[in-house]
Structure formats: structure tokens, C-alpha cells
């Protein structure tokens, strides 16, 4: 008996995926990523200083995945997300004011202060919510994709989940059902190498989670999750496939989170080698895109600096807005339990 299964995984985007790159696209992806980066850094600090309640699972390091996938989706396309959901929301177009307000637990927040970080939502942009249950959003996404197919409206759904989540039952059930019914759903596994503090090698015997696609008779694609253009390219293929009626795709984006599982720093035990962290930071997604932009001549250092600055201003505005927003009234505590 041979113990190594042959694999049907596709590696990386198709050749020439950077061809025809435009200035607009570079700046669009850059803006999405910078917005995530700064939002996460600032909100992480606000919790650390005790200014903001709750606990946060920060997305820093993984920006290229959300930015790349979201850049091929429209507002009518739906996504479901995870406990690490800010990045998905921001890349999908969520605004800082109601996001910060939500983290501050204010009435002006996306959830009116009811949900907080782990339930960030923006229905108007097809962001069907973060989810505090690992794997919890995956079945919901196939429902969104089912609605697309049922209505024939040409929309698709994407669901984000981690390497750890790919071991939970809900993943298996959902991707199989989506495959059987050719639902227009993109399964995006953000493999950052760890489920909390447990390394991938301790939670599965695979190197490439995309291999699991074969169990459902659908394509599995591995992509560099630090290259937003590569992510975008494979996402485009998957969306095309979904829209053509051919069904779902499993995309595995190899990526990394820079901060701790929760919060910025909290490494109680040294579960990651500092050298490993540094090596990943060397391949920072924003740096990579900025290099592509300047080397291709499509964008300048000044263009990027402007985005950083303008985003920073947005951050300041968002925090200010949140702080000045009204607290919810405990008298309303029973509102919105039911639709009446």
C-alpha cells in the first residue's frame, strides 16, 4: 500500500495573471489592504489600553486574501466570515464609523452594539456576518449560494474559514452539498498555519488543504495568500466557474497572521518560532503590492503614501465618531429578538 495519495491540486494562478494590470486595480487592492491593516492595528491597541471592550481576532498579515477575493465580488455577491472577520468586512466595503462604533458597543454600530467584533455584519454589501463558531458560517454561505442559483440572479457566495476550521464537520457537509448541487460558492480556506496555538501539522496530516477538494469532486487550488493579485486571479476563475453553473471551488490561500490568535501580543507560550514570524513579514502582502505598483510604473510611492494617510484620517474619524456615539438603552434590550 502506498501512503501518499496522488494529488489533483492546482498550484497558483494561471500564467500571466499579472498581465494587463491597471493602475486602478493596484490602488484598489492597496486601499483595501491598508484599510484592513490600519483598522486592525488601531482597534487592537484600543482594546489593549482598555478603551474598547471585547476581545479581537486581528486579520493583520492576511490582508491579501480578503482584498484579492473581494475585488472580484460585487455588493450583490454574499460572503460569510469567521471570528477573524474585520478584514472580510472592510474588504467587502464596510465603513469605519459603524465598525468602530460596533466595537465600542454603540447604537451607531453595524449591530447597534449587540454583536461586537465577532458578529460584524454589513447586509447592504452582502457581508452576511462574522461568526464566533468555527465553521459556523460555511453552511450559511451555501444557503446564500443556493439563493443565487434559485433566483438565477448571477450572484455568487464566498465563505472564508481557517485551516483549523477545515477539520470541523460543518465544512465537510457544506462543501459536499454545494458540490452535489453545483452551487455558486467559493470556499476560501485561509491557511495561516495555526488553529489558535496548534500548528497545522498537529491538526491534520496534509500539507495542502486544497487536496480535500477531491473528496467532493471539485477543483482545489493552492495560492500564495500574500499576493493579492494571485488571490484575485484564482478567485476570478472560481467566480467564473460558479457563474457558469459548474459549481464550487476550494481555494487554499497560504498566509500568516502577524499578531497573536487574539489581540496583538499575548504569546503566553512560544508556539511560533520568531524566525518564522519574521520570514512571513518579509513577504508582507502590502509591501509586495507596493513593489509591483512602483516597479510596473502604474503607481508611485506618493500614491501609496496618500492611501495610507487618507486611511489614517478615516481611522481617526471613525474612532471619534464611535466615541461620541450614544450607548444603547438597556430598556431596548428585547428589541430585535424577533421580527414582528
Amino acid at each position: 500500500m502506498t501512503e501518499t495519495a496522488a494529488t489533483g491540486v492546482i498550484y497558483g494562478p494561471r500564467e500571466g495573471y499579472r498581465d494587463g494590470l491597471t493602475r486602478g486595480l493596484v490602488l484598489d487592492l492597496h486601499r483595501r489592504m491598508v484599510r484592513i491593516r490600519l483598522f486592525e492595528e488601531s482597534s487592537g491597541k484600543l482594546v489593549e489600553t482598555g478603551d474598547m471592550p471585547g476581545f479581537l481576532h486581528l486579520y493583520v498579515g492576511q490582508e491579501a486574501v480578503a482584498a484579492g477575493v473581494m475585488s472580484v465580488l460585487g455588493d450583490a455577491d454574499q460572503i460569510t466570515s469567521t471570528h477573524r472577520g474585520h478584514g472580510h468586512a472592510i474588504a467587502k466595503g464596510a465603513e469605519f464609523r459603524p465598525m468602530f462604533a460596533e466595537l465600542y458597543g454603540k447604537t451607531t454600530g453595524y449591530c447597534k452594539g449587540r454583536g461586537g467584533s465577532m458578529h460584524i455584519v454589513d447586509m447592504s454589501r452582502g457581508m452576511l456576518g462574522a461568526n464566533a463558531i468555527v465553521g459556523g458560517g460555511i453552511p450559511i454561505a451555501i444557503g446564500a449560494g443556493f439563493a443565487s442559483q434559485y433566483r438565477g440572479d448571477g450572484t455568487v457566495a464566498a465563505t472564508f474559514f481557517g485551516d483549523g476550521a477545515s477539520n470541523i464537520g460543518a465544512f465537510h457537509e457544506s462543501i459536499n452539498m454545494a458540490a452535489v448541487w453545483d452551487l455558486p460558492v467559493i470556499f476560501v480556506c485561509e491557511n495561516n498555519g495555526y488553529a489558535e496555538f496548534t500548528a497545522q501539522s498537529s491538526h491534520m496530516k496534509l500539507e495542502d488543504i486544497a487536496e480535500r477538494a477531491a473528496s467532493y469532486g471539485i477543483p482545489g487550488v493552492v495560492v500564495d495568500g500574500m499576493d493579492a493579485l494571485a488571490v484575485r486571479a484564482v478567485a476570478l476563475d472560481a467566480v467564473e466557474r460558479a457563474k457558469s453553473g459548474a459549481g464550487p471551488t476550494l481555494i487554499e490561500a497560504k498566509t500568516y497572521r502577524y499578531f497573536d490568535h487574539q489581540g496583538i501580543k499575548g504569546m503566553r507560550i512560544p508556539y511560533r518560532d520568531p524566525a518564522e514570524v519574521e520570514a512571513w513579514k518579509e513577504r508582507d502582502a502590502i509591501k509586495i503590492l507596493e513593489a509591483i505598483g512602483t516597479e510596473s510604473g502604474l503607481a508611485s510611492t506618493e500614491d501609496f503614501a496618500a492611501i495610507w494617510a487618507e486611511t489614517q484620517a478615516d481611522i481617526t474619524d471613525g474612532i471619534e465618531f464611535a466615541r461620541n456615539s450614544p450607548d444603547p438603552d438597556p430598556a431596548d434590550i428585547l428589541d430585535d429578538v424577533y421580527t414582528v
Binding site: 454574499q78 460569510t80 454600530g109 453595524y110 449591530c111 447597534k112 452594539g113 449587540r114 454583536g115 458578529h119 455584519v121 447586509m123 452576511l128 456576518g129 461568526n131 464566533a132 463558531i133 459556523g136 460555511i138 453552511p139 450559511i140 454561505a141 451555501i142 444557503g143 446564500a144 449560494g145 443556493f146 439563493a147 434559485y150 457566495a157 464537520g169 460543518a170 465537510h172 457537509e173 457544506s174 459536499n176 452539498m177 452535489v180 448541487w181 428589541d335 430585535d336 429578538v337 424577533y338 421580527t339
Partner: protein
Amino acid sequence: MTTRELTYVKAFNEGMHQMMASDPDVFLIGEDVAGYGGVFHMFDGLLTEFGDRRVKDTPIAEQAIIGLGVGAAARGLRPVCDLMFMDFIGVAMDQIFNQAAKMKYMFGGAVSVPLTITTAGGGGMSAAAQHSQSLEAWLAHIPGLKVAMPASPYDAKGLIVGAIRDDNPTIVVLNKKMLGVKGLVPEELYGIPMGVANVVREGTDVTIVAIARMVVEATKAAKELEAEGISVEVIDPRTVQPLDTDTIVTSVKKTHRALIVHEAVEFGGIGAEISSQIQESAFDYLDAPVARLAAPFSPVPYAPILENAYMPDAARIAAKVRALVERS
């Protein structure tokens, strides 16, 4: 307005047919609900009438079945997701209580989840511990969910229609042993709203609040007791969430005695909540402690002789009522 006799399951089935005909956003998924029409015939004829876009057999994957319903409902469709036996709820519970039920609240009201889950509960079939349970107490304890338990053919139709029309996640629990029970059912489409109890029978001495099939047994007991001069009011809450406390309390204020009957185990059953509410709201009216009659604290046994002893029936209900009357 023609009314005729239908079985409980046919009445339910008619409600499904009419709702699917009247609303193109209603669809049905579940294990063997399409080609086979459901293992209890609940969904007979739907595939033929509405086609395989709207009526679909699924893999065995209850998390995906319910979750798909949650996502589709959040996008404005009105899914009906079948969970063949209520006992299987354990493999899909997260999607029911953490997702479907909480979504609206967690999202600050930004979404509605008009999902209907259908399932079959109850014992009496020698189906043993994993195919006979009554778990409504769990469901009623979940803010955001509604829970209907039809106890007649009329209600089987009215409550599935009411559930599908309701904009909230709602579970309709059919009772397996009632599937063949007959009753009068109007032909036209009608819905029973969630939260409105049915006073099945009026009486003055004791109020029985009975759940699901126990309504039938309680009614039998009430007839028996009438001959003995004990006048029993039988109330079927129809939905245990929301619970029509007003109707129940008003009755007990009149009768001064109450008995709650259900098939689920007594400890932590919905009877505990009903009993508590009664004594909280009608304490000064009570001539005897509010009583409960339900299953003993064990899994449902297989052998018919054990299962018969396990489930409350008319005789035991009557005995309990007599004791209540004698007490005061």
C-alpha cells in the same frame, strides 16, 4: 369553505402544497423529501407538483441542511428544511440555536430569518431512545426561535402555514403517533399564528395544559372524568415558544387547579416553565399545587410494555386529576 376529514399528515401535506403554490420563495430540502416524499409521507407529491428546483433531496448532512436554510432565509427566501426525526437535532443544533435564532439580534436587527424547520417527535412506535424523543424544552429555551407542536389535523395544516408565513425561524414538530389521526380540515389555505393557544374543551374544576399528542389523551381523560362529575378544561398551547400564558392563567384563575402533561421527561420539561408561570401569576387562586405528569427520568425504552408505562396516557391523567381534586 369546504371542510372534510383528513389525517394529520395529509393535512400537513396540504398546507405544504398550498404554501408552495402561493409563494414562489418557498422551497423544501431534506433527506428523502423529494423522490420519496419523506419517510412519513409528509411531503408526498411536492416533487411532482413543484419540480426539483424547489423540492430537493439532500445528502445526510443536517448541519448543511439547516445552515443552507439559514443563509437562504437571510437572503429573503422562505426555506423549509426537514430534520427527519427530532432526535437528530444534536447534529444540527449549532445552526439552529447559535445561527438561525441569534442572527437577527446579533446583527442589531439587520436581517430576518424566515426559516421553517419541520421534524417529527414523540414515542409510541418502539423506535427506542434515539428515535422517540420530545425535546421541545430545549427549543423553547432559545430566544429568537418559535416552536409549534400541532395536536390535530386542523393544527397540523394551520401551524405549518403559520410557520412558513412567520418571519422568524420556526420549528414545527409533528407527532409521529398522530400521523394517521383524522379530523376536520378546511380546504382553503389558512394559517394559525404562533402563540395562540387552543381551548380544546371548557371546564370549571381543573385546567389541563397538554402538549402535542397528550392533548388527545387529556381530552379522553376529561370525558371520562365528566362522567364522574369532574369538569376539566383542556388547553393546547399549540406553540411552546411563544407560550400563550394569558389563556392558561385565565383558565387556572377560573378552575383553581392545574395539571400539565407532556411526553418529554418531567425534569426540566416545558411543564416546569408552565407550572412556574401559573404559580407566579395565579398563586392566590390555587387550591392545590400545580401538578405535572410526564415521562420518568430515563431514555425512551424499546420494549412496548416499558414504553407504554413510560408515556402518560388518559388513565394516568385522570388519576392525577382526581388526586388534585381530592387534595383541596
